[in-house]
């Protein structure tokens, strides 16, 4: 990977009262990689991606996306700039049809043919046959797939997935992994994940957070061998 840098975060900080949720983090994403963010509960993973996608305001530090400073850009404008975020807790429109859900993502990127684009996006995640159903009537696994489909349909440069495999059955996890592999190298994927099998299998690089700081960054093999990581997280 001749590492063209897509995203550069420097000295990112976010304190909640006395709690340093993210404490001076430097973080880089290479174009086209699958990067996993791991760490114990409360390590600051969700806060860090919140800072990257704009849901949490940056208190100090800077973020650049493909060279452009996006530190002060509001969340909706960052989506337009190419950062898509899928929620930790499934966030779809349960009272709208599956087709309307995906169409909202497709029309957001300004697609010319909305109907065809929406069906193609549904087809990609295998939900084309359920287009007319209410999204709330889908099974949990299909709802997560729909949300992933909405993220992919935005055609972002960076797709952030917050614990995407939580609550999925093994067969569903395999389908999910295939979709994420298919998304790169057009997109770059940042994955928060607790399932170590998924992380070790998918990730090109891993960043380990602990107490709001970066403990280590490296390939899966390097992270496995890292003594500090083992002590803090892998329980080694």
């Amino acid at each position: 990977m001749a590492a063209l840098t897509l995203l550069e975060a420097r000295s990112l900080t976010c304190h909640f009262g006395g709690l340093r949720a993210v404490d001076g983090v430097d973080f880089d994403l290479a174009q086209g990689e699958i990067h996993a963010l791991i760490g114990p509960n409360g390590a600051g993973k969700t806060t860090l991606v919140g800072l990257l996608c704009g849901r949490v305001p940056v208190q100090s530090g800077s973020i650049r996306l493909a060279g452009r400073d996006i530190t002060r850009l509001p969340a909706h404008a960052r989506v337009r700039a190419g950062i898509a975020y899928t929620f930790q807790i499934t966030a779809i429109y349960p009272r709208l049809t599956v087709l309307d859900n995906i169409a909202l993502a497709v029309q957001s990127r300004g697609a010319k043919n909305l109907a065809a684009g929406s069906l193609a996006a549904l087809d990609r995640v295998g939900l084309a046959g359920r287009a007319a159903m209410l999204a709330g009537d889908l099974s949990y696994g299909h709802q997560r797939l729909l949300e992933l489909g909405m993220g992919l349909a935005l055609r972002p440069r960076l797709l952030i997935l917050d614990e995407p495999t939580q609550g999925l059955a093994n067969a569903e996890i395999e389908a999910f992994k295939a979709l994420v592999r298919g998304a790169v190298p057009d997109m770059t994927v940042l994955l928060i994940e607790h399932n170590m099998d998924v992380v070790m299998d998918l990730a090109d690089r891993i960043t380990v957070l602990n107490f709001g700081r970066v403990l280590a960054t490296g390939t899966p093999a390097e992270i496995r061998a890292n003594a500090a990581v083992q002590a803090a997280y892998l329980g080694g």
Binding site: P74, H76, V79, P94, L104, L114
Partner: protein
């Protein structure tokens, strides 16, 4: 997405055709009522764009309706403007005030939006009373028959008035239908259903809600201006809290988030009050009882309930 298109057009054009035919059939009294109902339904459609589709519960829409009435009435009565210019002025006043209120009130979400709109509407009502020398306050302004002529048509004549009300209603209905079936209409509903999700799909909640509120204000302003022109009277009572609550009742009764719901609700509520006040002076008690029944048994209103029971294509 397009499966029900033929049915949708047939239904809405059918309603408009029935209203056109009704004029020939109905006795003068009911035709007069229906003209009034159609104008009030335009107001309620505007309210529905904000409340039913975008999820913005305003308790101060009388401000925009009143802006339409006075925006038309004062230039016509004081400066001798023509009816057409007055209509445009009323429309602009409704939209302009909605823009100003939205810029301030939409900075805060939820309950505070209700309270801020309520406060603005009260301030507007009191402003009208304060400037009684110009607005004629409680007593109101009677618009001269001579001023109620639009493109050579005398709006004080029953038949002309009915047709003018129907023309406004038809335009409002078709624009409303096109709006809610458009991509922007889908984004309005998305804001109502899940604002945070919509933001993370790249839609700016503030701008979407502001646009919906301005559209809503334009409808209310147009309805207010038309009401003053057609019925010849502009009074402070139309800017009072009662006229903020009425469109909410119409929309809840007919079905929030449905295109025909506001008209159906306005018609039923109008006749409910009309019939009840013929029987008892406590007619508001009857309205209250009807609303209780509605909330208990059909909280989505008449058309909302029908949509859940199979008419899923209803826009």
């Amino acid at each position: 997405m397009n499966g029900g298109a033929a049915k949708i057009w047939a239904l809405h054009l059918g309603v408009l055709a029935a209203l056109l035919a009704a004029q020939a059939v109905l006795p003068a009294y009911h035709a007069g009522n229906l003209a009034r109902i159609m104008v009030l339904a335009v107001y309620a459609m505007g309210f529905n764009i904000a409340f039913g589709y975008t999820g913005l519960l305003s308790l101060g829409h009388a401000l925009f309706f009143g802006a339409g009435l006075y925006g038309m009435g004062m230039p016509v009565a004081l400066a001798g403007w023509g009816a057409g210019a007055g209509l445009v002025a009323g429309l602009a006043a409704g939209g302009g005030l909605a823009l100003a209120v939205g810029l301030l009130a939409l900075r805060r979400a939820g309950v505070s939006f209700m309270i801020v709109t309520l406060m603005f509407a009260q301030a507007g009502y009191l402003t009208i009373l304060y400037y009684t020398p110009y607005t004629r306050g409680e007593e109101g302004i009677v618009i001269d028959r001579a001023a109620r002529v639009l493109m050579g048509l005398d709006l004080s004549q029953d038949a002309t008035r009915y047709c003018a009300a129907l023309a406004l209603f038809a335009a409002a209905l078709l624009v409303n239908l096109a709006l809610v079936r458009s991509p922007f209409g889908r984004v309005m509903v998305a804001m109502r259903e899940n604002e945070e999700r919509s933001r993370m799909l790249g839609y700016d909640p503030f701008r979407v809600k502001l646009a919906a509120l301005v559209l809503s204000g334009l409808y209310a302003g147009a309805a207010g201006a038309a009401y003053g022109l057609l019925f010849g009277y502009v009074g402070a009572g139309f800017a009072s809290i009662q006229y903020s609550i009425l469109p909410l009742l119409y929309v809840l009764l007919g079905g929030a988030g449905t295109v025909l719901g506001p008209f159906l609700g306005a018609a039923l509520m109008f006749y409910l009050i009309d019939l009840a006040s013929g029987v008892t002076t406590a007619h508001l008690l009857v309205v209250g009882a009807a609303l209780l029944v509605l909330v208990l048994f059909a909280p989505k209103g008449i058309l909302g309930t029908l949509r859940d029971r199979g008419l899923t294509w209803l826009p």
